[in-house]
């Protein structure tokens, strides 16, 4: 039996044209969700079918592709998507942020600052930031049309009333170019400031929900907040146990059933790069033991 023949980057040309037109409109209207005719992909919804379609529509033979899942290059989702494009498009792949021209991501923005010749493609599960506040699509469309975002501020206020601070820790809503409120996908709010005035183009694809949206380079992205409760990025108060970084977003890893845990960089490329440059964690690779009673 012959091996199945795929078009370059899997998608057929008519589908790519449709997605490309949606991408151009998304760039022209920053933060607005453009409906598109999302296709079934050879992977389940929730595994990045939206991001994969966006990547397939922009990818060329000279691109260098990096794929991360929660900051990591070596988890199942990242590896399978990277191999998917290595096979269907024959593109070069990398784990180094600085070498990549297209970076597809699930739920993180790399720690290494992005550059002008890079495109960041986000996998998005639920593109509508107002969806959990208003289930009707007709209503959320109208709210976006009227820039009627009071409900979102009420939601953030209710956080403050209940917890004393804005408890939203990921998928923290942003306002793009002072117009559209946008869901940055479930990235930790730690990453929100990186979206603002970013030199790279940022594209968002939601496969199941059939939406594409974008943030052009050098575009203002503001995290919603209040004067007396300003936005604050959150980070575990610890250095990375492997590379000692004090500025990176950390994953908490439980190491035993005695309360042992370690904090390590979520961005594996950043962490490996620092270790290669001679940085070490305070406990080297040994578990970082959190002091009893301290949370923070």
């Amino acid at each position: 039996m012959n091996a199945p023949a795929y078009n370059f980057a899997y998608l057929d040309e008519q589908t790519k044209r449709m997605i490309r037109r949606a991408i151009l409109k998304a760039i022209a209207i920053p933060g607005y969700q453009v409906p598109f005719a999302s296709r079934e992909m050879p992977m389940p919804y929730g595994w990045g079918t939206g991001g994969v379609q966006v990547t397939a529509a922009i990818l060329g033979p000279r691109d260098v592709l990096k794929v991360i899942d929660q900051g990591s290059d070596d988890t199942t989702n990242a590896i399978s998507i990277r191999k998917f494009f290595a096979k269907t498009a024959g593109v070069a792949t990398t784990t180094a942020t600085a070498e990549a021209t297209v970076i597809q991501t699930r739920h993180r923005i790399p720690e290494t600052a992005l550059r002008e010749n890079q495109v960041l493609v986000y996998q998005v599960p639920i593109p509508e930031p107002l969806r959990f506040l208003e289930p009707r699509e007709t209503e959320t469309r109208r709210m976006h049309a009227l820039a009627e975002y009071g409900l979102m501020h009420v939601k953030l206020y209710e956080d403050i009333a209940r917890f004393g601070h804005i408890a939203t820790a990921y998928a923290y809503p942003v306002k793009v170019n002072a117009r559209y409120v946008m869901d940055p996908s479930p990235t930790p709010k730690f990453d929100n400031p990186k979206m603002d005035n970013c030199p790279a183009l940022q594209l968002f694809g939601a496969g199941r929900e059939k939406r594409i949206y974008a943030i052009p380079p050098y575009t203002q992205v503001v995290s919603l907040d209040f004067e007396d409760h300003p936005f604050e990025p959150y980070r575990f108060n610890a250095p990375c146990a492997l590379c000692g970084a004090e500025d990176s977003y950390l994953d908490e890893i439980v190491t035993d059933d005695q309360g042992g845990r370690m904090f390590v960089c979520s961005d594996t490329d950043y962490c490996e790069g620092r270790q290669a440059a001679g940085h070490h964690g305070s406990l080297s690779a040994a578990p970082y033991r959190e002091k009893a009673g301290s949370h923070g």
Binding site: K16, L24, Y218
Partner: protein, 202 residues
């Protein structure tokens, strides 16, 4: 009477040429005022620049109603070429067009005759592709807006001369509006609806 066999050819490699052309247009749209080059070349009928032809082959199909200006409609070879290579329906009513091709900028219709999108679906608007004399020399323009780090400058020789004054309707209409793609031979500049332009004089 031109037969189909005599029409200028499309892309030699449809897949990779369309990808390369799209990336040039995407970069142009993402960085308004920057001049991007379209590398892959296709045969282009009279009155159509090679950049325009490449964009047509990359973005047009049966889903994109197309409006042509008078000079282009008069060229039966051009209409045949578009129909054969893209299958895009040519429409008389520019308010339902996905794309409009303008070869003679002096005859550009008032911009509010094109589709401007709706408040709920601002993406349902016409992308107006205008062929211009030069994107390398001419009057200077200062551009600001998303995609631009501070201020971008564009040297261009454009008809109609008051194009950017006309595009000021985008300020009041946003998020509705008109996105413009300027083509000069193989050079492309995009002016999305978010870009604000001030003339610097000559």
């Amino acid at each position: 009477m031109t037969t189909i066999a005599e029409l200028p050819p499309g892309f030699v490699d449809k897949v990779l040429s369309a990808q390369s052309t799209f990336r040039s247009v995407m970069d142009a749209m993402a960085r308004p005022g920057s001049v991007q080059r379209i590398v892959p070349m296709a045969g282009a009928p009279d009155t159509m620049m090679r950049g325009t032809a490449a964009i047509a082959l990359t973005l047009f199909d049966h889903d994109t109603p197309l409006w042509l200006d008078a000079r282009m409609v008069e060229s039966s070879d051009l209409v045949k070429w578009l129909k054969f290579h893209t299958g895009a329906p040519v429409v008389q009513d520019c308010s339902i067009a996905s794309f409009a091709l303008i070869s003679d900028g002096t005859a550009l219709p008032p911009l509010d005759r094109f589709a401007l999108g709706t408040s709920e679906y601002p993406d349902r608007s016409t992308t107006v592709i205008i062929q211009v004399d030069s994107l390398a020399s001419g009057r200077g323009f200062e551009l600001r807006g998303p995609g631009i780090d501070g201020v971008a400058t564009l040297q261009a020789s454009i008809k109609p001369f008051d194009l950017f004054e006309r595009l000021r309707i985008n300020e009041a209409l946003f998020p509705r509006g008109i996105d413009v793609v300027l083509v000069a031979d193989d050079a492309v500049v995009a002016i999305p609806r978010t870009t604000r332009v001030v003339s610097k004089g000559s």
